[in-house]
Symmetry: C2
Subunit: 270 residues, 2 copies
DNA sequence: TATGTTAGTGTGATAGTGCCACTATATTAG
DNA sequence: CTAATATAGTGGCACTATCACACTAACATA
């Protein structure tokens, strides 16, 4: 039952601070400056820390997620959520790291981005104790341009159902993806999150269809329109979309930062 | 504008894997075993990783949070949320680490524990790039026994309002606490979370009072009772609480793991 | 037995939703 | 030009969980 090579015992160092004696805590005579000068993070055992993302988009009336085929060990050749280490010199924050990953993979600069959870334990990565901070992003498929990564990894949009069922994702990424998907679906019940899967201008029918795809069940037209319009989160662009029939008003999100929460869940058919 | 001593430039190492050449990704000839044998986490720059907790309880009809006076640098002498490094050899997972912290500080073994968020950036800790995974816990005040920590830190229960306003918490802990508090308050609108702040057996009036404290506004009795009872998350213990007046039925939570979500928010007075 | 106090209920109003038939306005076929 | 088709958008009632508040119930104590 020790399937993986972990860090050898002798590499597990203590977490006590080397060279500093703490006699009576509150009268520690060492100044903070002196303390920090002596402090070296490499004296400690720290977990691996990564950022992973579930990047969702809508293509051909299906919810799809971006997967990456791992070019390197571990889990070489397996599909995985895009992600990787934080670049301490470059990323100012976790969100920075997530934005960077997203830009690298999709060319999208300002998506909807939400932190979902952080998973950390000794077993999830064969390299040792590892922590991953997981985000999900929503982007409009019209805004993305897949570009062959400089690391020339294989990248693909995969329907979420398939990714969960048939892709044998690396590490615990199936669980991570399932959690992201569950979070997305649950938020559809009481927010207007799906607007972020649409282009800047869209019709109410477009939006309703997105809800129906995400909820995987029909949504009643009138109730839906009332709910969305009364919330005051959209504004008319002034334009109309013409087609084979009566033209439809185009809307845009009035404040992309604002995340409206409805006081009730969508109930669905009774 | 460089107020703190950070890691000297020469300590910032590259994130490339030493001694392994990746020529064509998918035909990497090194086996996973060989890869892992060569892998040493100390070759990389990794952030500091900690777990911090907002441990809430109810004392004298106020919501209070556990604070710890820091015995060591950095931020020595300041009040902070309890937390600390993950013990890689001991904690199997982040939740383990959180449970350990909680047990150390309060003696409570099985509280309600929820991950709130993870904050990571280069500035929040003077020791360098750091990540903290933040949890909140709810415990019943009757179940806790504060024990002087072995590190003999000063520990105190502080009303949340005071902690946020007058305590000048260490690092970014004021923000962390504020976010935990906001999360708790928002979940009170659509869950029965406050049951975890009560002892095993309680009356509906007890529970209503907790809601009123957390929401900071009155709650209508009949509507509240129907809401809670119809949800089917409580069961009668069979016992009654007697007092100066009509005895009240005692209830317990029927399934502590189950987190019921109501289809509507508590609306409060109109 | 009366009174105070808290537990618990009966019942109508309110508001956001579901439901469904209806009208409105465009394109396209004849 | 007219009718058919198709989708956009509305009117209006039903439903349900809530709010509101007055009421009854049960116990302790004087």
């Amino acid at each position: 039952m020790t399937p993986r090579i972990l860090l050898p015992e002798h590499l597990i160092r203590t977490s006590l601070i080397r060279g500093i004696t703490v006699d009576t805590p509150m009268t520690n005579p060492v100044s903070e400056q002196a303390f920090l000068a002596q402090y070296n993070i490499h004296d400690f055992d720290v977990p691996l820390t990564t950022v992973d993302m579930a990047i969702f988009t809508l293509r051909e009336k299906r919810l799809e997620v971006l997967l990456v085929k791992r070019a390197q060990h571990p889990a070489q050749g397996k599909w995985a959520l895009p992600g990787g280490f934080i670049q301490l010199g470059q990323d100012h924050s976790l969100e920075d790291a997530a934005h960077r990953k997203l830009l690298e993979k999709t060319g999208v600069a300002s998506p909807y981005l939400e932190q979902v959870m952080t998973v950390g334990n000794a077993k999830r990565d064969p390299r040792g104790w590892s922590v991953t901070v997981v985000y999900f992003a929503l982007i409009a498929s019209d805004s993305l341009r897949i570009q062959p990564d400089e690391s020339s990894e294989q990248v693909a949009w995969v329907p979420v159902k398939e990714a969960l069922e048939n892709y044998g994702l690396a590490f615990d990424h199936q669980t991570l993806l399932a959690t992201c998907h569950a979070r997305l679906k649950s938020k559809v019940l009481y927010t207007a999150l799906p607007v972020h899967l649409l282009p800047d201008a869209f019709t109410l029918t477009d939006l309703q269809q997105v809800f129906e795809i995400l909820l995987d069940q029909p949504v009643e037209k009138k109730a839906f329109r009332r709910r969305i319009l009364d919330a005051g989160i959209l504004e008319e662009t002034g334009g109309m979309r013409t087609g084979q029939s009566r033209p439809a008003k185009l809307y845009r999100v009035s404040d992309k930062q604002q995340a409206h929460c409805f006081p009730r869940n969508i109930e669905g058919p009774r």
